[in-house]
């Protein structure tokens, strides 16, 4: 489980939040809410360890993530604003390489299956520069299907997605929660997961 206690973070001279505490248990989902510039992305990036908090502690299963370091990275998966896909590579290559970077070897069959489930049938081998914004986002989101991380940290996962894709993401999140995974995310679009209590955290 993920536990955050008395977290404080600032960018430049501006204090974004302080004394932030919460805990996320297996099978739970939490939405971070707040206006633009309230520090949603900074909070998620702090949870990933990119930003060193001014104060407070983040622990994973009782241990400080700064000490766990790479052991923590193996358990979590982050999807940021940027898709982390290369224009010159095909969807298939992109997916297999990003799985490789996160330490797992993904065979072609599984990768194709994941891309097809994301609605990219027939586009697996095209260079991603010819795909639309929404399709590129789908390539990035396909990583959710091939990762065995327990904690998903999703920053605006629904941008550029159409109704069908949003439904698909909701389905994926529901499956992940059913496997006792954890999700923490931000969104400006409504996202509902059937049969799950949605916790929310407001930053102001």
């Amino acid at each position: 489980m993920l536990e955050v206690s008395n977290l404080a973070c600032s960018r430049g001279d501006h204090r974004l939040f302080s004394d932030l505490s919460f805990a996320l248990y297996p099978g739970q989902i939490m939405q971070i809410q707040g206006a633009n510039g309230s520090g949603k992305t900074s909070l998620l990036r702090t949870l990933c360890g990119f930003i060193i908090p001014d104060d407070g502690k983040i622990s994973w299963c009782g241990e400080d993530v700064r000490e766990l370091d790479e052991a923590y990275f193996a358990e979590m998966m982050y999807l940021g604003h940027l898709n982390a896909i290369k224009d010159e590579l095909s969807a298939l290559e992109n997916l297999r390489i990003s799985a490789g970077l996160s330490g797992t070897e993904l065979n072609e069959k599984d990768a194709v299956a994941a891309l097809r489930r994301m609605g990219l049938r027939g586009r697996e081998r095209l260079p991603t520069k010819v795909l639309s914004q929404g399709q590129r986002r789908r390539v990035a989101l396909a990583r959710l299907l091939v990762s065995d991380a327990r904690l998903w940290i999703l920053d605006e996962p629904l941008t550029a997605l159409d109704v069908g894709a949003v439904a698909l993401i909701q389905e994926l999140i529901a499956e992940h929660l059913a496997r006792l995974g954890m999700v923490i995310f931000t969104t400006h679009q409504p996202l509902e997961v059937a049969g799950m209590e949605m916790r929310s955290l407001s930053l102001s």
Partner: protein
């Protein structure tokens, strides 16, 4: 799912960067053309007197190689930084240092190795002896990887900064002076009939030092720059 070994992770990064470089061939070629052009400008600048050119050749080629590698270093991390891949790399559960080493290796293959392969032709332009060209190539083979590795630290530190390219050269060039000295020193030793082994073994020692320390230092620099 099967876990990747560190070695296959290294190979994955090298292969990925080489594929990307092949699909963006223009970038590779510009570095090489820059190198050839800078070297060819010298005779025009100092006059075509063969004795002087022969004496200057190792220095000119080395300095040009230094400048060419500075030019290509800006691209080492910037593409991955802009499209978000670097974020994913920092979250790699195995070893960021290994990923960085892979990127350094492919950077060298794409921007260092072509310069080394081009050297014999340029050496002939400067009327260098075959022996001197041989030692020059050997020195470049040992030295250009050091440039890629030390340069990677600078590239990581200047990531995403305005005017990063010039700043990068300002940070990295002073650190590369020993490589320049040993590389040109070896050629001068062989032309004056002395042994080159001390120069080249010192260069080898620098290469080993760089291999041991720079990937980790670069990884730390990346973490600092991504904050």
């Amino acid at each position: 799912m099967k876990k990747l070994s560190l070695f296959s992770l290294l190979m994955l990064v090298v292969r990925r960067d080489l594929v990307l470089a092949m699909r963006r061939r223009a970038d590779v070629l510009t570095t090489l053309i820059f190198f050839v052009m800078v070297v060819s400008l010298f005779p025009l600048g100092v006059g075509p007197e063969m004795g002087m050119l022969r004496k200057m050749a190792p220095g000119v080629l080395w300095v040009a190689a230094l400048l060419a590698s500075m030019l290509s270093l800006g691209r080492l991390f910037s593409a991955d930084y802009l499209d978000g891949t670097l974020e994913q790399m920092l979250l790699a559960p195995q070893s960021l240092s290994v990923l960085v080493l892979g990127k350094m290796a492919s950077h060298w293959m794409v921007s260092g190795l072509p310069l080394v392969l081009m050297t014999p032709v340029l050496g002939l332009q400067f009327d260098m002896s075959i022996q001197a060209i041989g030692v020059l190539i050997l020195g470049l083979l040992l030295g250009t990887p050091i440039l890629s590795m030390v340069g990677a630290i600078g590239a990581a530190l200047t990531l995403g900064l305005r005017g990063g390219g010039v700043l990068l050269s300002l940070l990295v060039l002073p650190l590369c002076i020993p490589v320049l000295i040993f590389g040109t020193g070896a050629v001068e030793a062989v032309t004056s009939g002395l042994s080159v082994s001390s120069h080249l073994s010192l260069m080898g020692a620098l290469l080993v030092l760089a291999l041991v320390f720079t990937p980790w230092v670069t990884a730390q620099a990346l973490r600092i720059s991504m904050e």
